[in-house]
């Protein structure tokens, strides 16, 4: 058993490269756990279909390119709108009927939706991935002296940070966000003040789904566009959510990036554990601080 462990100090460029990969993964963890937290805040549903909707975003970009000839930049706008609209339809037609029930039914319903979406795509595309090219504007990279930084990866990190902070700003610092937070605390009272809470719930779900789709489009040139890409990432994101706790938006962002980095570092020092390290961290956090780092105990 012990011969698995060979701790050697790797050369610096390899280490920075893995840290970059970790940061990229962290960007996607952050965007996805952010969407999960926003949806959970208002709907009290853990959106199991989030991974499938992330995959839909990537496939939407792929279809836009291969069927309509629309490239990366239009897809970055269109795919979230299309998938978000599909999310709104799901909320209107299905989720609406189960708000009165135990929260677990929300998890089961969205799990069923994830199976349907992934099954359809697996039937059409198998489990192999479709390539999606990096947009010409962002090809190439630059040498930072200590490492080589591909332009597209730099863009993903900057863009996802911007999206996360914009979401945080909208929820914590604007009037719309204030309504949203109020409705999370007490929907009946907010409705009594004349705000259309059901519509707000619909739009919130749509926005959370659109966020997942946006992450999917951004992921398309890095990972291959594959029907399995969603289910691979969603369980890790669940662990991130348990570690961060769903009480705070900032918590979701910080724990997403931090755990991506932890994963990257593990890949440097002990690659065999890189796929399990986030779950180990989750177990440790549960021992020390069961509510999660940023969560409220309940």
């Amino acid at each position: 058993m012990l011969d698995w462990i060979h701790l050697t100090v790797p050369p610096a460029p390899a280490m920075f490269a893995q840290l970059l990969v970790g940061l990229i993964n962290g960007a996607f963890y952050a965007m996805l756990s952010l969407g999960l937290a926003v949806i959970f805040g208002l709907l009290n549903i853990i959106n199991f279909a989030h991974g499938a909707q992330y995959m839909l975003g990537a496939f939407c970009a792929w279809f836009l390119l291969n069927a309509l000839g629309l490239g990366y930049w239009p897809a970055l706008i269109l795919a979230p709108i299309i998938v978000g609209a599909a999310g709104i339809a799901i909320e209107r037609l299905l989720l609406r009927h189960i708000y009165g029930l135990d929260h677990l039914y929300g998890l089961l319903l969205t799990f069923g939706l994830a199976l349907i979406i992934e099954g359809v795509f697996r039937q059409q595309f198998g489990s192999s991935g479709q390539p999606y090219a990096i947009p010409p504007e962002l090809q190439g990279g630059r040498n930072l002296g200590f490492m080589f930084l591909p332009n597209y990866r730099a863009w993903v990190i900057v863009a996802s940070l911007a999206v996360c902070l914009a979401t945080w700003f909208t929820i914590e610092r604007t009037r719309l966000g204030a309504y949203l937070r109020a409705a999370t605390e007490n929907p009946v009272l907010v409705q009594a003040f004349g705000i259309n809470v059901p519509r707000m719930i619909t739009l919130t779900y749509g926005a959370g789904v659109a966020l997942a789709a946006l992450a999917g489009v951004m992921a398309a040139p890095i990972y291959q566009v594959s029907p399995l890409m969603g289910s691979n990432i969603i369980i890790t994101v669940f662990a991130v959510v348990v570690i961060g706790g769903m009480g705070s938006i900032l918590g979701a962002i910080v724990s997403g990036f931090a755990l991506g980095l932890v994963e990257g570092l593990t890949k440097v020092f002990y690659p065999e554990a890189s796929s399990t390290v986030i779950f180990v961290v989750m177990a440790l956090v549960l021992l020390v601080k069961p509510a999660g780092f940023f969560g409220r105990a309940r």
């Binding site: 189960i98 799990f111 069923g112 099954g119 369980i235 177990a283």
Partner: protein, 325 residues
Amino acid sequence: MAAALIGLALVAPLILYPVFVMEALCFALFACAFNLLIGYVGLLSFGHAAFFGSAAYVTAHTVKVWGLPPELGILAGAAAATFLGAGVGWLAIRRQGIYFAMITLALAQMVYFVALQARFTGGEDGIQAVPRGKLVGVVDLGDTLTMYYFVLAVFLIGFAVIVRTVHSPFGQVIKAIRENEPRAVSLGYDADRYKLLAFILSAGLSGLAGSLKSLVFQLASLSDVQWTMSGEVVLMTLVGGLGTVLGPVVGAFFLTAMQHYLAQLGSWVTVVQGVVFVFCVLVFRRGIVGVIASYAAGRRKPPGISPSALEAVDKPAEARTAAGP
């Protein structure tokens, strides 16, 4: 009715394809063990494949590589699942509801990755060609009918343990925790201890089912530990009826049959499963057995509990609340 069902199970391999019935029985035991947790403690575990799959691996490994007889291999598998259940349960009961589901799912995914990377599991290939061996050195399980009756016997033992547990004082306490945990705690019950015990029992019995399955198919593979398996057992229990004794058995037979009939459709099976999931959650939450039971209860009014008797029970409760502060 119990006698009729057992009679049916005894002649089933003569009518149906025995391997199909064996598979359904393994999943039925798995679903019953899972139902012990969701139906009677109210905890949704989304990681039961970890126990099912790890027991399958341990049984396959001990029987094939160590050459243990099948009964010891099965015991080893169930014991491994029980220990794993103790660890996972100890961590997971720290959170409730939706978090409990996510934690069990994440820990099960960890088990999946370990199974993918560890050497003894054979990675993508799994452990193949597991010998069924001779039961206590005498009875050859290579014969399909003999194997069938062995599977049936193990299933009945597991099922009896579950029914007995549900109707024991322990079962009453876990149901009380499901209905109102703070109240059960205020009555002096250590809810966490009861939850953990129920979790360990459920994990151990799931392991028993997994061990049995690895002998029936002579195979332990990654699909046994994958999250899709966890989802399937949830679906079986949901279709049959959460919290009913026979529901998981009916659900397991229903879904196994569905998979056999739809096998040539490839990934559409997943789609159909998803549709059944959505349908059950939206309009069929009581499940097959739940609906039949409530229909039967409506047809012939149970003598003890008439609506007026229920009112009489309710009234003092109302009076108590009214008299409160």
